[in-house]
């Protein structure tokens, strides 16, 4: 059974883009357009990895990381921030929140797959 990845981004085209890349590489992809939707998905099933944007209406990506880390099922799940934010301050916040890594948009699709394979396979 293929590994499942939860992608969280308020941008429709970004979600589509991630789905193209990840499905093309053989992963199952579940998309969420907000932090709340992501938490609903996360409560209903388990994922092998979470890729999340930072700046979203409602709860932001860092809040989502904290919320997921508080769930026992997601204590060790790789969570990668995928965001246009690139400051050290933000990365440090990500690290403190429990994110596994920080990838700055625009991302290279091959680089993204390298990171996904590193954690998921």
């Amino acid at each position: 059974m293929s590994k499942a990845i939860l992608t969280v981004d308020d941008s429709t085209s970004m979600r589509q883009m991630l789905a193209f890349i990840l499905k093309g590489a053989g992963y199952q992809v579940v998309q969420a357009s907000s932090s709340d939707e992501a938490l609903t998905h996360a409560a209903g099933r388990s994922f092998d990895m979470v890729l999340t944007d930072q700046n979203m209406p409602g709860g932001d990506g860092l809040e989502l990381v904290c919320a997921l880390r508080s769930l026992p099922a997601y204590a060790d799940t790789p969570i990668i921030m995928l965001t246009t934010e690139s400051s050290e301050e933000m990365k440090n916040k990500g690290r403190a929140a429990g994110a596994t890594g920080w990838m700055v948009k625009p991302f290279d699709p091959n680089r993204l797959l390298e990171v996904v394979r590193k954690f998921v396979n």
């Binding site: 085209s13 890594g101 990838m103 948009k105």
Partner: protein, 162 residues
Amino acid sequence: MLNNSRSYAQPGTLGALDALSDILSGVKRDVARSREVLNGAFGKIAARFAQVHAIAVAAEARDSGLSDEALNALRKVTDSLTIELQFEDSLSQLLDHVQGKVEAIGVALTETRTLVSSTPGGDAEPVGPALEVLARTVKSIQMAADAAVAERSTSSGSVELF
């Protein structure tokens, strides 16, 4: 919105503040419209990308008769489109920042209008409180600017694993 001017207020000052509020409302509408146009345009481009991507995937999966060179070229095109299409996200966030700044100025204008309206005739102009409002607004806008989108080049971004 043009409000009822009190007799002791400076009609010129209030009029100017109301005119600025109207201009800001126009800017807000422009930002909202820009977002609609942006989403529509990128949606169409993304749909075309989906078609090209599907062709590339199908060509790789089957014996399409395409040479390795042609397949590599197709793969490079889709990879490059994947990066370039992500600028919709950057533009969308820049619009968020513009919207945030416009809203901060709108709040400052409303507060300033309240100050000017409540100043009895003959008293000194509420310069001190108005300057405080201005300083707060500038600080708020600077904070929004600090959080502005970082990546603006067409190269792909960095990766850091913790």
